[in-house]
Symmetry: C2
Subunit: 321 residues, 2 copies
C-alpha cells in the first residue's frame, strides 16, 4: 500500500531539532520561527530537476544532499549563517527506500551546518526538488555581487572543475554512481563553503557562488558591479587529479565552465590581498586562489601570460542547454 | 531564439516593491530582508504540479495566482501578515506569453496583499511551480492547529465546495477556462482569507486552511489537538449557486471534500461564540458558519439532526489519488 503524503512527512521529514529559534516546525500550516534581533534575514531558493540538474538514477542520498547544498551555497555567498530550510518535493512514487535515503542525505548536511527542516510539501509528480533556505547575516556585513571595484583582486576557492569531471565520467559511463573516485564523489557530495562565506565578511568587496561556471559567473559579478574583469588563465587552480588525467586545455575547460563544486568567487582590494587571503584560507579551512583582477569597463577578458586569448563556451544556462 | 534563465528572471519577476524591509531583492545569490523586531517569522511552502494540482491548459494567469494563493492561505491560517515570497519555476519552454500571464497573476495577488517577490529560480523541466512565503505574527497570537478544546465550537468561513464544483465542470468539459461562471472563476481565482486570519488572532483556539477537504482537514485539526469533533451536516453552508444546481447529497460531498476555496476552519470557546463570530465576520468581511463542536476522544463523527451518519470518501491526499 502506498504511503500517503502525511505519512511521508511524518516519517521522513519530521525530526527533532536542537535549534531553540524553531517555535513550531513541520506539521502545522506554516512554521513559526524567531529570527535573532539586529540581523538581516537571508533567503534563497533553488530547484533540482531530474535529467537536468542530476542524472536519472542518481543515488537519492546525493539528491537530498545537493537539494540543500545548492541553497546553502547561496547563503555562503552572502556570508550568512544558515538556520532553517523548507522542502518541496515532487516525486513519482513515494518509494520508501528512495525517501529514506533522500531524507538521510538532506538531514546529514543539515545537521553538519545546524540547519533545521521546518516545513515542506510532498506531492506526486515528476521528480523535482525545491528547497528554500533562511539564514542571517549582520546587514552591513552581507556579501553582494555588486561591490567589486576596478583594481580589486579576483579570487576563487578550492579547485573548481572536479565535479564537472565527475559528471563527465558518469555521463560517458566510464564510472558508476558507486565509484569511490574523488571526481565522482565531488559531483555527488560537494560541500558548500559556509565557513569561507563567514571568513569573507568584512574582507571581500563582492562575492557569489560558482554555480554556472567560473567564466560566466565572473561575468555576472562584473555586470552586477558595473565593471570589467580580467582572468589570468595561467593562474587557474587545477586540481592534481585533473592535471593527471586531462591535458591543460581540457582542465581549463572544466575549471571555466563546470559548476557543481560550490566554490565561491570573490573580490578584495588588491592592497594587502595576499595577507588577507592567507587569513581567510586559515579561517575557512580551504585554499583560495588569486585568478585575476577587476578593471574599469565591462565584460571578462582572458589573458595567458599577459596576452589576450579568446575562450569559447559560456556559463551554464538552465534554459539554453 | 529562446529566452535565457537570467533574462526570464529580469523581465518577468523583477519588479520594484514599496516594501522598505527588502534590503536586496531578486538578482543576487539570496535576498536580504529586515524582519520586524518582536514578531515571529512565519514560513510556508507549497508546490503545484500540472495535471495534479491544476488541469493541463489552465490559464497561466490562474496558475500564477494559485501558486501564491495556496501559500498565502497557509499564512492566513496562522493569523500572519504576509511579506515576502520566493518563486521556483520549472517549465518546459520559456514561452513569453505564458510567462507574462503567469507573472501577471502572481504579481496581481502579491500586490493586493503587499507581498514582494524577493527571489527565485527558473529552470527548464516539467511544469512544477513552488512558492515559499514569509510573513509575521506576534508569537503569542499565532493560530495553531493544536489548541482546540472539548466544548469549543467549530466554524468554517465562506462557502467551501464552489471551487470543487468549478473543477468538476471543467473536467467534464461542461465549461471551458474562459467561462465567467462563478464556480469556474472560484476554481481559477479564489482569494486567500488573510483578513480573516488576522481577525481570528486572540479569538480562535485553533485554525487551519481547508486544502484537502473540510472533513479530512477537521480530522487533522482534531488529531493535532488530541480531541474529537462532531460535524453537524445540516449546518454545512451551501452556496445558493450550488443548491440551485445540485441535490443536497451532491452539495454536501462538494463541501466536505472540495479543497480549492482557501476557506479557513477554526474553533473558538463556545461561550460567547456567536457574538465573537459576528465581530470576526464584520472585521474580515466574510461570513463564518458554525458547523459543529469539539469533543473529548478522537476522530470526526457526522451527525444529521442529532443522529450519526456515516460519510464516505476522505480528504484529498496528493499521493493517494
Amino acid at each position: 500500500m502506498p504511503l500517503g503524503e502525511f505519512e511521508v512527512i511524518a516519517r521522513y521529514f519530521t525530526r527533532a531539532t536542537p535549534r531553540r529559534d524553531v517555535l513550531l516546525g513541520v506539521g502545522d500550516d506554516a512554521a513559526l520561527l524567531a529570527p535573532p534581533p539586529g540581523q538581516a534575514l537571508v533567503a534563497a531558493t533553488d530547484t533540482l530537476v531530474e535529467g537536468r540538474h542530476f542524472l536519472p538514477g542518481t543515488p537519492p542520498l546525493s539528491v537530498g544532499h545537493n537539494a540543500l547544498a545548492v541553497n546553502l551555497s547561496d547563503l555562503a555567498a552572502m556570508g550568512a549563517d544558515p538556520a532553517w530550510a523548507l522542502l518541496a518535493l515532487s516525486l513519482p512514487d513515494p518509494d520508501e527506500r528512495w525517501l529514506e535515503e533522500f531524507a538521510g542525505g538532506l538531514h546529514a548536511l543539515a545537521t553538519r551546518h545546524g540547519v533545521a527542516l521546518v516545513g515542506g510539501d510532498t506531492v506526486s509528480g515528476p521528480l523535482v526538488v525545491t528547497v528554500a533556505v533562511l539564514g542571517f547575516v549582520p546587514a552591513d556585513a552581507a556579501l553582494r555581487r555588486s561591490g567589486a571595484k576596478p583594481g580589486d583582486a579576483v579570487y576563487v576557492s578550492g579547485t573548481p572543475g572536479v565535479a564537472a569531471a565527475g559528471l563527465d565520467l558518469l555521463r560517458r559511463g566510464v564510472m558508476t554512481f558507486e565509484s569511490r573516485d574523488p571526481r565522482v564523489q565531488r559531483m555527488l557530495f560537494a560541500e558548500p563553503r559556509l565557513a569561507l562565506g563567514r571568513a569573507l565578511r568584512g574582507r571581500a568587496s563582492a562575492a557569489m557562488d560558482v554555480s554556472d561556471g567560473l567564466l560566466g559567473d565572473l561575468d555576472k559579478l562584473a555586470r552586477a558591479s558595473t565593471v570589467g574583469a580580467v582572468l589570468e588563465l595561467e593562474r587557474l587552480p587545477i586540481a592534481p587529479m585533473l592535471a593527471d588525467a586531462y591535458d591543460r586545455a581540457q582542465c581549463e575547460r572544466l575549471v571555466l565552465h563546470g559548476g557543481d563544486d560550490y566554490e565561491l568567487l570573490f573580490t578584495m582590494p588588491a592592497d594587502g590581498a595576499a595577507a588577507r587571503a592567507a587569513e581567510i584560507a586559515e579561517q575557512a579551512g580551504c585554499a583560495v586562489h588569486r585568478i585575476g583582477r577587476i578593471v574599469a569597463g565591462e565584460g571578462v577578458r582572458c589573458l595567458r601570460e599577459g596576452r589576450e586569448e579568446p575562450v569559447t563556451g559560456g556559463g551554464y544556462d538552465h534554459f539554453a542547454h
